[in-house]
């Protein structure tokens, strides 16, 4: 189902529509078909105007079995269209989905328009000439349905045909069968005399800036951004990772990019993944590691080591529902405290949050820049939604990115080797092993100022703690001021967000502003340190509302930093916010 959704996404992008997707699948691999917990869904929102969320309520639901119908029909817009494969609505599947009566045959779906098709049967007939077994033949029904959907929206079949040919290059019969199913579904729309709701819709291309576009998921754009960042810094990249949902995709992408001086290492555990990255940074590479909440928890001690030894390191956290194992495949923003505060000792670390798959590219470059320019680990926050969701991305012009080359220290200034001396930004020098005459020792024990020797003296620890703190806080002088994403500086209500809530907040604020409300959207990329002007900016609004997919973490940070009355709007259901939920909150805040 996820593959089918991906292909419909592509055809939508090629048709020039703007789009956003929301893949929603179970944590189980091949969860039993037909069960309620095993439903794998793919939601797409597309149109001729700007699209920033996967949509609150779909217009069309394609249900391949009773369980899919049951788990998703509640979201469907009143009067929306249900296309159901009635061939799958037999007694067994109905029982698995806890239906006592076939919903296609009573009036329980009366609020919607229902189109019953025996997709299973139609598919079997379409692929009959290829002599597949029953099971294999039925696997083609996703393509049959995709063909029908392509017809409904007037889409070109060719890119899908090309994709099938390349996917099944080694099994041409399967390619042909799937293409036949795709064509049959399309032809069905074209030729069957369908009455009522089933009709063709033509969605005009969305108005977007001219240029080259592609679709991109967050996992892809982060990988690309990390590679770009390393190249802009002039460094080889070392990526240490350990498989974990939903972060593994970054390891997969990077492991194919050897020609960009990328070494990937699948470590024995999360700790080894970050420790190896720290070792690589020590040896002069850009060390990168990536994980999700539980894995980040395991890496915490090593993050402290990177802070103490002041080595560059990028840590990508693809957040998921927590605590503990939590909801591995569902999205959440509940690791903000972990990122900003979650270490032993006073251990400051810059934190950046990506707002969308496309934005994650620039955020990854920014993480590399801060990490190498300030000799510090940096955490890049993304989430399961951004990692998996696709959106159109205007391919960036790489010549527009200024390089930030790293200069290793190769000679001691004035003949004095001082590995913990500081420049004006409080950054210490980066000295690679292998450099003659520069041998020195580093480690996790408190360092003496300048020399880096072990030092337990009270005054020294106070001074070093201050230096580490001030170095990270000083980054605020080297990041952009906070802008108002939509609206003006000052007014009645500011909606302050971070990360993947961008889409629904932006759309809600846009709609409410169109209705004349005094509401503004501020979206924060630099979570730590916060932009220098943010406090003054926030104080220009009468009210501040912070929608978050957690129980109020950014809200607490804002209150702490600025003593402002930031109010929370929280959602931790594993699903992104709906635009309507934020609109309602705005309405209630404005009274």
């Amino acid at each position: 189902m996820q593959l089918t959704g991906g292909q419909f996404t592509l055809s939508t992008a090629l048709a020039g529509n703007d789009l956003a997707t929301f893949p929603d699948f179970p944590a189980e691999i091949r969860a039993p078909q037909g069960t309620l917990f095993g439903v794998s869904a793919f939601q797409i929102n597309f149109g001729s105007t700007e699209v920033e969320t996967a949509g609150d309520a779909p217009d069309v639901l394609i249900a391949m079995n009773p369980a899919a119908l049951k788990t998703n029909v509640g979201q469907l817009k009143e009067g929306g269209l249900i296309i159901a494969d009635e061939g799958e609505f037999g007694a067994r599947n109905l029982a698995k989905a806890n239906y006592e009566v076939n919903p296609l045959e009573d009036d329980s779906l009366a609020r919607w328009q229902v189109m019953k098709l025996n997709i299973s049967q139609l598919t079997l007939e379409a692929v009959k000439p290829f002599g597949l077994g029953n099971k294999e033949a039925l696997r083609c029904k996703n393509m049959w349905t995709l063909g029908l959907a392509l017809w409904m929206f007037g889409r070109d079949r060719k890119p899908i045909v090309d994709w099938l040919n390349s996917k099944f290059a080694k099994a041409p019969t399967l390619a042909e069968a799937n293409i036949a199913a795709l064509n049959a579904g399309h032809a069905y729309g074209e030729t069957a005399e369908l009455s009522g709701p089933m009709q063709q819709h033509f969605i005009a291309p969305a108005p977007v800036a001219p240029g080259l576009y592609r679709t991109v998921t967050g996992a892809e754009s982060i990988s690309l951004g990390l590679v770009a960042g390393a190249q802009l810094a002039g460094l080889p990249m070392f990526f240490g990772g350990y498989p974990i949902t939903p972060a593994s995709a970054i390891l997969h992408h990077l492991s194919r990019l050897k020609e960009y001086d990328v070494t990937t290492f699948q470590a024995e555990d999360e700790i080894a993944a970050i420790a190896s990255a720290i070792g690589a940074s020590y040896a002069g590479s850009l060390g990168v590691t990536s994980s999700s909440g539980p894995g980040i928890a395991l890496k915490t001690e090593a993050i402290g080591l990177a802070i103490m030894t002041e080595l560059p390191l990028v840590i990508v956290n693809s957040q998921r529902g927590g605590p503990s194992t939590g909801l591995p495949t569902k999205t959440e923003q509940s690791d903000l405290y972990q990122a900003v505060y979650g270490r032993n000792g006073d251990a400051p670390m810059p934190v950046i949050a990506a707002r969308s798959p496309a934005d994650a590219f620039d955020c990854a470059i920014e993480a590399v820049r801060l990490s190498t320019q300030f000799m510090t680990p940096v955490m890049l926050l993304t989430d399961g939604y951004i990692a998996n969701a696709a959106e159109p991305w205007k391919v960036p012009d790489m010549s527009g990115y200024a390089p930030f080359p790293v200069a290793f220290q190769e000679e001691a200034p004035d003949g004095k080797l001082l590995p913990y001396s500081r420049d004006e930004k409080l950054k210490r020098p980066w000295i690679k092993p292998g450099t003659p005459g520069m041998m020195h020792r580093i480690g996790g024990i408190e360092k003496q100022i300048d020399t880096g020797h072990i030092n337990y003296e009270a005054g020294n620890h106070q001074a070093m703690t201050d230096i580490r703190q001030n170095k990270v806080l000083g980054i605020a002088d080297h990041i952009p001021d906070q802008d108002v994403t939509l609206g003006e500086a000052g007014g009645r209500l500011a909606i302050v967000g971070w990360g993947s809530t961008f889409g629904p907040i932006h759309q809600a604020v846009r709609r409410m502003r169109a209705r004349g409300h005094d509401v503004h959207h501020i979206h924060i990329r630099h979570i730590w340190p916060l932009p220098k002007n943010l406090g003054d900016l926030l104080k220009g609004y009468e009210k501040i509302l912070v929608p978050e997919m957690n129980t109020g973490q950014l809200k607490t940070v804002l209150r702490d930093q600025y003593l402002v009355d930031a109010r929370p709007l929280n959602k931790v259901s594993g699903q992104p916010f709906r635009i309507a939920e934020i609109e309602a909150a705005i309405e209630s805040a404005l009274g």
């Binding site: 800036a209 592609r214 190249q231 050897k258 470590a267 700790i271 720290i278 020590y282 060390g287 010549s399």
Partner: protein, 342 residues
């Protein structure tokens, strides 16, 4: 090359005050390593000592090379990143029984199976020294310590057995104060791949004389067997040797009369024989055997970092790094016209 010969022990000593307890075995090991370095023909700037946490892990501060005193148990993982980032560096891991086999057991196992080219010196004192004397994963059953006032009840791990089981291709043993330690270190350095060296190290404060049964002068001849490739396995001044009981498939101690070891059935050391190595490392004086010392197993195979470098080069062959091309990959489409105003 001439420059290398000029280096002396002084070139490998730092100006830092060495802070182990007076009489600690670590002093002797430090001296042995510092004395060996000039003989290896290595440059200090290409040498990195990486340690975890524990008494032994202070070691890098005293070596005038690059050094990284990391966190508990993680030295093998840090070392893996160092070596993959720069395979030209000569990496030494300094660890202890708690660091390598308890909190860091997982990393030790994986470094050995991957065969990263480095030297691992495990200072085994069968006790947690830095945390004030708790029993360790190599402590013998019945060890009384602050955390086991009535004696420990769990069985100890055998470091060399663990190493062989993890796929190590070089396993050796030495004793902190024994004159043979430098030659064991040299053999470890000469081996390309992960070289695992267990060094029996006396903790004078918390576990004094725990190895005296075979390290004391009086006990040494009868209870130490130093192995040499291709030489008969003799000890006790040549009066005893090891033979293979082919029926029971185990080693047995035999008397050698008038130096005729062949007549006694004494076997010759084959350091490439893994089965033999496994039997040798499991010999204990409690069971009437001498403790096996020296190079027990040395059977090289390709190293991890070389395999990674080779695969990276192969995968990159013929491809050009072009960022613009990379970001433009996949299925793309061109939007031609100017955006129209909505």
């Amino acid at each position: 090359m001439n420059e290398m010969t000029k280096l002396t022990i002084k070139d490998f000593e730092t100006d830092q005050e060495v802070r182990w307890c007076p009489g600690c075995g670590d002093y002797a090991i430090l001296k042995a390593v510092q004395r060996t370095m000039p003989e290896l023909g290595v440059r200090p700037e290409n040498t990195v000592f990486i340690s975890g946490i524990g008494c032994s892990s202070r070691f890098p501060y005293y070596m005038e090379t690059y050094g990284f005193h990391t966190i508990h148990g993680r030295a093998p993982a840090i070392a893996t990143g160092v070596k993959l980032a720069n395979p030209e560096l000569d990496v030494w891991i300094i660890t202890g029984d708690g660091d390598a086999l308890s909190i860091g057991g997982n990393h030790t196992m994986h470094l050995l199976r991957r065969n990263l080219d480095c030297q691992i010196l495990l200072f085994n004192n069968e006790i947690y020294g830095l945390t004030k004397g708790q029993y360790s994963p190599t402590s013998r059953v019945g060890t009384r310590s602050p955390s086991t006032p009535f004696g420990s009840v769990d069985r100890p791990a055998s470091p060399c057995s663990f190493a062989i089981g993890s796929g190590a291709r070089f396993v050796a043993r030495g004793i902190d104060t024994h004159k043979n330690l430098p030659q064991v270190l040299k053999a470890a350095h000469a081996h390309k791949g992960a070289s695992f060296v267990e060094i029996f190290q006396n903790c004078i404060v918390y576990n004094d004389d725990v190895f005296a049964g075979f390290t004391d002068k009086a006990n040494a001849p009868a209870n130490q067997i130093w192995l040499t490739q291709g030489e008969p396995m003799l000890f006790a001044g040549g009066g005893k040797g090891l033979t293979l009981d082919r029926e029971a498939l185990r080693l047995r101690v035999v008397d050698v009369v008038d130096g005729d070891w062949q007549a006694a059935g004494v076997i010759v050391h084959d350091q490439t024989n893994k089965g033999l190595a496994q039997m040798l490392v499991e010999m204990t004086i409690e069971h009437g055997f001498p403790v096996a010392l020296g190079v027990i197993y040395d059977h090289p195979r390709p190293t991890f970092e070389r395999a990674v470098v080779a695969q990276n080069a192969e995968a990159a062959k013929g491809k050009v790094a072009d960022l613009q091309k990379l970001v433009s990959k996949g299925q793309t489409w061109q939007v031609e016209k100017e955006p129209h105003v909505v």
